[in-house]
Amino acid sequence: MKKLLALLLTLTLLLGTASALAANLTLGIYPPDTDAVAKEVHDTSYIPAFKVALPDVELVPANYIYSGETFTALAESGKVPTIFETWYTEPQKLIKNKQVADITDQLTELGWLDKINPSIRALLSDENGRVYGIPRDGYALGLMLNAEVFADAGLVDENGIPLFPKTWDELIEAGKVIKEKTGSAALCLLAQDNAGGWHFSNIAWTFGAKLQHKDEADKWQAQLNTPEVVAAMTMVQTLAKKGLLTSDPTSENWGTGFAALGTGSAAMYIAANDAVMQPTQNNGLPVDKLMMVGMPAGSDRSYSLSGGTPYMFSANATPEEIMAALKYVEIMGKAPVLTEASKAGLVADAEYRVDAGIPVIPNFPVWTDEEFNAAQAEVVAKYSNVDARMFQNYFDTVKSEGNLRMEEPMETQVMYAELTKVLQEVVTNPEANIQALLDTADANFQTVLDENINK
């Protein structure tokens, strides 16, 4: 009996040791089935390179598109992939709920920690400075234009480059011409879900608004009903009253906006540089017909809302699994490391974009490593498939002093929800009392700030 027990214990120990050695990498960043070109890049380039680098790690492709609605259930059942993508509005919530892994030690070991862009690092850190993610890329909102619609409306210069609006007033004027000559809406404004509030917050900034601030007593205060926000909302109301928006903005969301732009039912759409595949690859707009310009100025100036996508890691992931996931990121050319594999990763990504009809345009530097950024810029220059003039104003604007602004930091999605409610009323009711609606939104948002932040 004793021998049997000893044998069982030995076997258990052996099995335990074996499973501790073999890391299991569930790859939530593997592309979805619908994106065959991107899948091929992973299957033929990244995964073979990873298997050479870490042959003992079992790699399980498991595409996961982050959704606030599914994440908690996945986290509670321990099913979150080892590595996944989310948005910059989410890390603080996930960190607070203890649903993501602290990767500070791994980043220190790899020497990546101090290479993260400081403002992005702050978004990915807790109050003790521990870091929970790394940036994939960054974006800044601007205005996307369908050059075909502008040409049809006669709004192009002698070289065929669209005469784009630099202010909201100019947008309204151009919109009238577009509506009259082509029948297309001037702008696809979103008012179905929180994306409406997200876009509107950027519009409000251009009128000088700041939507929340921390007072002297270290309490966060909502500022959704200031004269600047009212002015921005009044501009939206003007667009609606003049019939320059798509037929029902309350049915428009992030995806339908790109469809409207790509198919020409709207001439302009607020969008970011990291989504250039949406109107082109996904909605059929030829790659040379997409133009991007800076966000129009309101009564203040142009600002561009800046955000992006971080990679984060399952709270249950072991240090070995986190290291394996970081290795995969390195192979993809998304880490501040220049190796043969990571250079090949950058090239594979650019080739994929050319093949798929997606504009190859410069990235936002999310790492401070100059050598890596130079290599990335070199690949983009080599594979560029667009007329640089079509993106010149966008990059000039976002590089101008003080243009970029990170999203408002506290209870951002709730703030967007409150603003979206006001937008819905404003675009559907020409008599809407904007000040009263914003007063209600402000009071509602303050309640949430007091409940969740100011305690």
Binding site: T70, T72, Q192, T250, E425, N444
Partner: protein, 305 residues
């Protein structure tokens, strides 16, 4: 068997005997009981417990008593609007959804030819997947001239309307869609009720000189009274839990004009990640439904006809 003294023994024997006798029935019920326990009773008890705690994700962290309820009742900006809307859904469903199946049943009952065709045709929307129905109607109610309903309106000389983004129209429109989908099933129940009325009563009434309205007033309505009352209460309880129709059609908009209580539960749980507040709204909805069920039980004692 010993029936004197030792009172427990015969009971134990009796219970064991009964259990042995009912073993087959218990075995048949076991899967159902297990599923109910796992998917209904345990989540229900968990939700009640969670509503008294603070949560981190879905994990309870700190007992807060009735704080979540106080927040929902006094501070939540959307709660009372959702309550008002939910009652509006119920009211409109009584005005539209209660009468339509009854009228359909009477019409099918009175039809002499093609009765099966109408019966099947009216029931067909019921077998369509719910979300497919919603998307179909969303397309038909599009705001511009490409929406089917607006096309019809334009043909009749009216201007196109923003059906789903008009705050005063959105709830009735959603109820119309729900009625289109659900009326067929209710109609079948009414039809069965109508067909079970003894034809001899009608014949006797005709002999006594009763006209059509007289027969409806004195025979059909009293005979259908108990059935109608039961279906009315069941409909109120079902409509009170409306969720996916407004969620998919309008997201609760415009400006919360169509948000329902169950959608508010969804928002708190899955959009804000605040499961404790979601649980407290669920418990409040349950209390209202329990109250309605008690009303139903108290008035559902069959009326003598």
């Amino acid at each position: 068997m010993n029936h004197t003294g030792w009172g427990a023994r015969p009971t134990r024997d009796g219970s064991w005997h009964r259990l042995k006798k009912d073993l087959g029935a218990w075995l048949i019920m076991l899967p159902g009981l297990a599923l109910f326990t796992f998917f209904v009773w345990l989540p229900l008890l968990s939700a009640i417990r969670m509503s008294f705690y603070k949560t981190e994700g879905m994990r309870i962290t700190e007992f807060v008593g009735t704080y979540n309820y106080a927040f929902i009742l006094y501070k939540d900006p959307d709660f009372w609007r959702a309550v008002q809307n939910t009652f509006m859904y119920t009211l409109w469903s009584l005005l539209i959804g209660f009468v339509v199946p009854m009228a359909l049943a009477v019409m099918v009952h009175e039809t002499r030819r093609g009765k099966s065709l109408f019966r099947t045709g009216l029931y067909l929307p019921n077998i369509m997947p719910a979300l497919a129905t919603i998307f179909l109607w969303k397309f038909l109610f599009r705001a511009d001239g490409s929406g089917g309903v607006n096309m019809l309106f334009q043909q009749l000389g009216f201007a196109p309307t923003s059906w789903l983004s008009n705050a005063s129209l959105v709830i009735p429109v959603i109820v119309v869609i729900m009625t289109w989908k659900g009326a067929g099933a209710t109609m079948l129940i009414y039809l069965a009720g109508l067909q079970s009325i003894n034809q001899e009563i009608y014949e006797a009434a005709i002999i006594d000189g009763a006209g059509v309205w007289g027969r409806i007033k004195h025979i059909t309505i009293p005979q259908m009274y108990n059935l109608g009352r039961t279906l009315l209460i069941l409909q109120v309880i079902a409509v009170f839990q409306i969720l996916y129709e407004p969620m998919v059609l309008t997201g609760g908009g415009p400006n919360n004009a169509s948000v329902s209580l169950m959608q508010l539960v969804y928002r708190h749980a899955f959009e804000y990640g605040d499961y404790s507040k979601a649980s407290s709204i669920s418990v409040l909805v349950s209390l209202v439904l329990i109250a309605l069920t008690l009303v139903y039980n108290s008035i559902s004692r069959p009326k003598e006809v």
